[in-house]
Each structure stands twice: as structure tokens, then as C-alpha cells.
């Protein structure tokens, strides 16, 4: 092999403490090295040109660049050598900046160390082989899991671009948490007025297949070619026949069913459509509340249904969808305030959560938009909001800020004052966190124009006094204990990961943090990608988020899918494991350690069983390589041979 070595001075970044000329000179002594030089800025346009010229002039077959970290410029130099006709993997970098010149002042020691790192790179390169990406066709359909605002946005953007979209929603209707909101901050525009049309769009787009009241059972395959099993849960109503007329709801005798859409503030029927704008607008029987299912007698809905859509014998059904990419937009759940025994949520009807108050404010809510308290239906004269219930509190294992509560409290206080001009609103808060366009102005409006009284301090106890509640807390600005009597107390419960988020993550093979939020590929630069190729994130499943951020991520994830689908095939990273079949003993250890299920059995004609790597699934971690007893499976570009060569270079 004919190897060229290029030692970068990086201005004085490297040359300041490393004798680059000497390093280049020394490299000429190493085996196969036929050319070596140093250069001021190797990554610059003329620097790259210099490499390309040398490749042509000296008929180089491999290149070593001793410069900065490969995490910085490896792709740059790989492109450069590729332009000059070399395979991009016939290239190695020696990191003599971050690992040498920047961390030591001793010029002699640094120079020596740089020489060794170059030697190491040369020895590795001598064992490199050209690698070629393989191409696999892409199935240009996308699965969106979760039909909240983030998932809706992602689905619509993909559908607008002409993609086939499969949207899976766990609940009976899409809309997510946003469908439950009355108004949205900081503009006070009506939530269902801005979300409703988008929901209708989802129903009307011919290239969106909506599976509502369905869950993802299993996911197999890899980027470009996923197979997803979806369980359509039994609704006991044939949705193809159901017209959503609502006659069944009028006649259903089980009228005391807890209304989950209204956060248990009201009652509904056992057969029901959750809210008027539901998409799909189809009825479902809640089995545990249904008189027929519990007593065996009734069948009123079946008799009344004009289209004969009710079928009590319906069972869960499984459908299989083939897609090329997956957008996960499973959203969030709200903290259950039960661990705060001192607040009495659940014990006192007039201590409610923020989302419950949202339903009270809503014109389609349990009280038709009249602000009343749940216990006796009286209009409240004083409302206390308690911030950070289940946020920024280690004692309940929720140390993070939920990000939205400060804003939704301000909104709810403003709305409460709009509904009932005489009501006094108090807010107990720790800090006001209102970064975002027009957000802080909005909170100031609550305080200054709407006269909402903000008290900085935690609440210690909430207890009843007659038919009112007493909120006992600290005012840390006054340095005093305060007690506020209220007719209604709203706990601003925080955001937590969606129920079942971890189980879904296991199916998708994506990682999640200790609170169950999904991990993005890079916290700053790859916010909607996951470490599983072809799986993207949108919305609050990745962490607490408000509506604008969720929508932005929905569009961002759609853009990533469109970029992926802009090509007909996908090039896979060739730095993957490969099996030397003659050495494989068929022990199966690699199959059991592979975190990605990328290794499967393959039977040869003689009947023997060998490991076989699915190159598109393999992520190149090398776990199998370290595990394989006869070393039959080798991670390309990081083979035992290559690593031991580096080691030999250092120890010899």
C-alpha cells in the first residue's frame, strides 16, 4: 500500500506545541508511507486540494491526516479523498489537537506522542479495506403514533407532500390533550377552533389511514422497511356503519358513566362519542359501564341504532402495516397529585387539577362554560392556583420543570376573570418561567391588567373551612405565613411521560430517560431523530413542551421523513458486522447480545446453522465481535486485526 501522511499545523493550534515538521519527517520511516508533509490548515480548500494532488502525484492508496478530532473533520476528509478517487474508508485520522497539543505544554513530549498517534493511524490504515454502502429500497409510507397536535401536524405535513400516512391513536378520537383545552396562551385563541379544522383535515385526506382506538402491538424491520402490527381494540360498534348520529347516547340508560373526556367532572353514557368535534365521530361502548355487559340485559342501543352498527360480540382485531419511517408523537400525561396528601386532591371536590379547570372553562365542558365549582355548583368568589404540583420537586421524583404550568395558570386566571369579573385569583408560585414569544408579556397582563395576585411561595396545606377551602402557604417575599380562603383551588399539575411510554420504547428500540421521556439523538443538533434509524420524535413524548414547540417538532419530524423519502433507496453505513461463515460455529451468542436484533440464523445447504447480519439493521456497536468465541463475526473498520494493529503500534 502507498500511504500519504498530512500533518496539520492548524495555524498555531497544533504547531504551537508540536513540531509538525518532525512528525511528518518521522512518518516517512513507517512502513508503506511514501509521502509525508505538514500544512498550515489541512481542512481548508487549498489544504484538501494538496491532499488530492498528492494522491494523484504519488499514486497514494491511503491517506492519514494528523489534525483535529475525527468527530470534527473525518467526514470532510473522507469526501476529499473520495473526490480524488480513493475509497472513503481508506482514510484515517490521528487526533493531535484535542488529544495532544491542547492538553500539554511540553513540546518534546507532545511531538513524541503525535508521532506515535500517526504511527498508530498508519498501522490501522494498512489493514483497512474499501467498504461500500449497500442500497435498500425505501417503502415510502410513514407511520405516525399518536394523534395529538404534534402527530396531527406531522401526519398532515407528510400527507400534503403526497406520502401515504398511517396514523394510530390510542383513544377513541384524535386531538390529544389540546382537544381538552378551552383557550390557548398567549393569544387566548380558542383551542378547538384552531385544532378542529386540522382534525377534520386528517379525516378527509385520502392518503391518511386513521386507526383510532388502536395500539401498536409490535414493530419489526428497519429503516425503509418496518412492519408494524396494530391492535384495533373492540368498540362494539361497527365504525363503517356508524354515522355518529348520537341517537344511542340519547337512549342509553347507563347515564352515570364517568366522563373521562371531562376529567371525571361530569357523567356520560356507556355508549358514547367523547366530544362533539371528535374525529372519527363514532360511538363506542365502555364495557364496564354498559348495562348489557354487566347484567346481560338491555340492548337498547342495538335496537335504536338506525344503521344496525352495534355488535356486542366484537373482538380486538389486528392489522399489519408496512412503512418506511415512524414518527412517535405519543405526548404526555399529567401528574396525579395524590402523593401530595396535604393538598387533599381527590378528598375535597373543590381541589381540582389544571386540566379539570380547563374543562370547566370550556363551553363544551361539564358546566357549559359557566365557571362553577364541582361541590355545589356555586360560582367561586376566590380561586387559588398552586404552581409546581409535581414539578421541580425531588420528593415526588419530578425534579424537572414542566414548562407549561406557569403559562397555563396565567391563562386560566385571565379566563376566570373574563368569565366572572368579580372573582379574585391568587397564584402561589416558585418562579415564573415564561420564556417564549409574548409569554412574559402575557403573564404581566395577568398581573397588571387582570389583577391576578401572585404570591411567591409554596403551599403547605389545603383544608376545608365550612364550605370554603383554606390555602396555607408561605409568602417568601413578605417572609410570612399566609392563609388564603378560596372557593376553588386549582393545582397546576405537571407533565409526566405518557402511560405506557416505556413499553412502546422497547417495541421501537428507542431509548428513554429515567422519567420515561424519549431520548433524542442529540440534545441540540438532532432534536427529532432517535438513535434508531428511521424513527423520529415529535412533541411532548420527548420532554415537556407547549403547543408551538410540539407543532414545530411535528413539522420537523415530517421534514426528516420527507428528506429520507426523497430518495428511492437508502445507503447503509458499511461499518457493520460481517460473518466469516467458515469460522462461525453456530453458537448463537451474537444473536443473544445484539441490542438491535440485527443478527439472524441462516441455514447453509449442508444444513449447518450460521449467524447472518442484517446490514441495514446493524448499528455497528461491535458487541457481537467481542462476544464471538471463534471471532468469526467482525465489525468492519474496527476488526480485531485493526485494533490489535493499533495496539501493537503503541506497545512495540
Amino acid at each position: 500500500m502507498r500511504i500519504g501522511v498530512f500533518v496539520c499545523q492548524c495555524g498555531t493550534n497544533i504547531a504551537g506545541t508540536v513540531d509538525t515538521r518532525a512528525v511528518a519527517q518521522r512518518a516517512l520511516d513507517y512502513p508503506d508511507v511514501v509521502f509525508a508533509t505538514d500544512y498550515m490548515y489541512t481542512c481548508s480548500e487549498p489544504g484538501q486540494q494538496e491532499i488530492q494532488n498528492a494522491i494523484a502525484e504519488h499514486r497514494l492508496q491511503g491517506v492519514v491526516v494528523a489534525a483535529c478530532s475525527p468527530r470534527m473533520h473525518e467526514p470532510t476528509f473522507r469526501r476529499a479523498v473520495e473526490k480524488a478517487g480513493l475509497n472513503r474508508y481508506m482514510f484515517e485520522m490521528a487526533n493531535i489537537r484535542e488529544h495532544v497539543s491542547w492538553i500539554g505544554q511540553d513540546r518534546a513530549a507532545n511531538t513524541l506522542k503525535a508521532m506515535e498517534l500517526v504511527r498508530m493511524a498508519v498501522e490501522k490504515l494498512r489493514r483497512n479495506e474499501p467498504l461500500f454502502a449497500s442500497e435498500v429500497p425505501i417503502n415510502k409510507r410513514v407511520l405516525v403514533i399518536g394523534g395529538g397536535v404534534a402527530g396531527i401536524q406531522a401526519a398532515l405535513d407528510c400527507a400534503d407532500a403526497g406520502l401515504d400516512v398511517v396514523l394510530v391513536e390510542r383513544e377513541q378520537s384524535i386531538g390529544g390533550k389540546m382537544a381538552k383545552l378551552d383557550k390557548t396562551f398567549p393569544t387566548i385563541d380558542c383551542s378547538s377552533c384552531i385544532l378542529g379544522p386540522k382534525m377534520v383535515d386528517v379525516a378527509q385526506k385520502e392518503n391518511i389511514t386513521l386507526h383510532a382506538y388502536s395500539e401498536v402491538e409490535s414493530v419489526s424491520g428497519y429503516i425503509g422497511n418496518f412492519t408494524v402490527k396494530i391492535r384495533k381494540k373492540a368498540t362494539y360498534v361497527d365504525w363503517d356503519a356508524c354515522t355518529g348520529c348520537g341517537l344511542c347516547m340519547e337512549k342509553c340508560p347507563s347515564k352515570k358513566t364517568v366522563d373521562r373526556f371531562n376529567e371525571a367532572l361530569g357523567v356520560t353514557t356507556a355508549i358514547q362519542i367523547p366530544f362533539p368535534q371528535a374525529i372519527p365521530k363514532k360511538a363506542r361502548i365502555q364495557k364496564d359501564a354498559c348495562r348489557y355487559f354487566t347484567t346481560g340485559k338491555c340492548k337498547v342501543c342495538q335496537k335504536i341504532c338506525p344503521t344496525g352498527a352495534v355488535h356486542y360480540d366484537m373482538e380486538d382485531r389486528e392489522v399489519v402495516e408496512e412503512v418506511g419511517a415512524i414518527i412517535v408523537a405519543t405526548g404526555y400525561d399529567l401528574f396525579d397529585p395524590a402523593p401530595y396528601g396535604e393538598y387533599g386532591a381527590g378528598r375535597y371536590p373543590d381541589v381540582i387539577t389544571g386540566i379539570q379547570f380547563e374543562r370547566i372553562l370550556s363551553a363544551s365542558g361539564p358546566f357549559g362554560g359557566h365557571v362553577k365549582r364541582p361541590s355545589d355548583g356555586k360560582e367561586p368568589k376566590d380561586i387559588v392556583f398552586v404552581a409546581c404540583v409535581g414539578s421541580r420537586d425531588k420528593s415526588v421524583d419530578r425534579p424537572y420543570c414542566s414548562g407549561i404550568c406557569c403559562m397555563y395558570i396565567a391563562k386560566q386566571a385571565i379566563l376566570a376573570r373574563d368569565h366572572l369579573p368579580g372573582v379574585n385569583c391568587y397564584v402561589f408560585y416558585m418562579d415564573i418561567r415564561s420564556p417564549g414569544k409574548n409569554y412574559d408579556e402575557f403573564v404581566r397582563r395577568a398581573i397588571e391588567e387582570y389583577g391576578v395576585q401572585y404570591i411567591r411561595g409554596r403551599v403547605g396545606k389545603i383544608y376545608p373551612n365550612g364550605d370554603r377551602m383554606v390555602v396555607q402557604g408561605a409568602d417568601t417575599l413578605l417572609g410570612a405565613q399566609v392563609e388564603v380562603e378560596a372557593d376553588l383551588v386549582v393545582l397546576a399539575t405537571g407533565v409526566e411521560s405518557s402511560r405506557g411510554a416505556k413499553e412502546l420504547a422497547e417495541k421501537l428500540r428507542i431509548s428513554y430517560d429515567q422519567y420515561g421521556f424519549y431520548m433524542e439523538s442529540h440534545p441540540k443538533l438532532r432534536p427529532v431523530e432517535t438513535n434508531t434509524a428511521g424513527v423520529y420524535l415529535a412533541g411532548a413524548c420527548q420532554g415537556p413542551k407547549d403547543i408551538p414547540a410540539s407543532v414545530a417538532q411535528g413539522s420537523a419530524a415530517a421534514a426528516k421523513v420527507l428528506a429520507l423519502f426523497a430518495r428511492d433507496t437508502i445507503a447503509t453505513d458499511p461499518q457493520v458486522a460481517g460473518v466469516l461463515e467458515s469460522a462461525c460455529i453456530g453458537c448463537g451468542k451474537c444473536l443473544s447480545v445484539c441490542p438491535f436484533g440485527a443478527i439472524q440464523w441462516k441455514t447453509l445447504r449442508d444444513g449447518s446453522r450460521k449467524a447472518d447480519v442484517l446490514e441495514t439493521v446493524c448499528q455497528g456497536c461491535g458487541l457481537c465481535n467481542a462476544t464471538c468465541p471463534p471471532k468469526a463475526i467482525q465489525l468492519r473498520h474496527f476488526t480485531d486485526d485493526q485494533i490489535l494493529a493499533e495496539l501493537d503500534a503503541l506497545c512495540a
Binding site: R71, E98, I103, N110, V593, C621, A626, F638, L650
Partner: protein
């Protein structure tokens, strides 16, 4: 032919590409000064670490071996470092049996943002190796009781 002739102590580092290699880069970017003993080999994941690499390095005369990866539960490949942790712990206990001083081998977890911690890891381990001096090779600096202790640790 080797620079080793000048007989400077050297440590071979195996760093995972995603966390610790990045952490070492971060330390460099922040100009956190470190002793010049360490030479770093980049591997995709500590799960790629064959125990053989550790033994070979020490047997061939490296004065120390340092392996560092992502913190447990933060592995880029989800579980690679869990496998590494088991294997490396066993290697450490196994070294006395082949006559290598287990103090010359250290493994740890450093994330890409922990430049400061990387500096501490390198400085501390370099001091250990300085203290131990040159690696005399297999069998030479392992008192029998160390092996005995290791044996009882297995029991």
C-alpha cells in the same frame, strides 16, 4: 524503530466514540492540561472491548490500560456498556492469575460533556502509573498474595 526507545511511560486508552472520546475532545477544547502518558484508540462502544485487548496491551509492555465509555444507561447502543462492565470487572479480577498487576488497568465512565472529569480521570490514573513505574511484564510485579486475594474474591 519505535519511539518507545526513549522509555517514557505510556497508557493505552480505549474510548467509546460517543461519550468518552467526545469527553476527551471536550477536555482538549477546554484546554484542560493532562499528563502526556495516554494514547487513545477509538472504538465504537465499550461493548466492542475484547478482554484480550487489555491483556495483550499489558503483556506487550503498556504501562497502563484505561477503558472509558458512556455512563451506564446512557449507552449509544442502549446496553453495550452493561456488557462491558461485566467483562471488564472480570478482566480486572483475572489479571493477577496471569501475573499482571490489576492496578495497571482501570475502567470508568465519562460522558461527552464531562471534560473536567476526563482531566481528573487521566491525571489520577497517570499518577497511579507513575507511582507503579515501568511495567516489568508478565509475572514480574505480581506478589502471590494479590493473586490469592483475587482468588478469594472469586470464591
Amino acid at each position: 524503530m519505535s519511539e518507545k526507545n526513549e522509555r517514557q511511560l505510556r497508557i493505552v486508552g480505549f474510548l467509546c466514540n460517543w461519550c468518552s472520546y467526545g469527553g476527551a475532545d471536550t477536555a482538549g477544547v477546554c484546554r484542560f492540561k493532562q499528563p502526556p502518558l495516554l494514547r487513545i484508540i477509538r472504538i465504537p462502544c465499550t461493548g466492542r472491548m475484547d478482554p484480550l485487548f487489555v491483556v495483550k496491551a499489558l503483556a506487550q509492555g503498556a504501562d497502563g490500560v484505561l477503558v472509558s465509555g458512556c455512563h451506564p444507561k446512557d449507552c449509544h447502543y442502549a446496553v453495550g456498556n452493561f456488557y462491558a462492565r461485566r467483562r471488564l470487572e472480570l478482566v480486572k479480577r483475572f489479571l493477577p492469575f496471569v501475573g499482571l498487576d490489576p492496578r495497571r488497568f482501570h475502567y470508568t465512565w465519562v460522558s461527552a460533556s464531562e471534560g473536567q472529569r476526563w482531566q481528573e480521570v487521566v491525571t489520577e490514573f497517570s499518577a497511579v502509573i507513575q507511582e507503579l513505574g515501568p511495567n516489568p511484564g508478565i509475572g514480574a510485579d505480581t506478589p502471590m498474595e494479590t493473586a490469592g486475594q483475587a482468588a478469594s474474591a472469586f470464591a
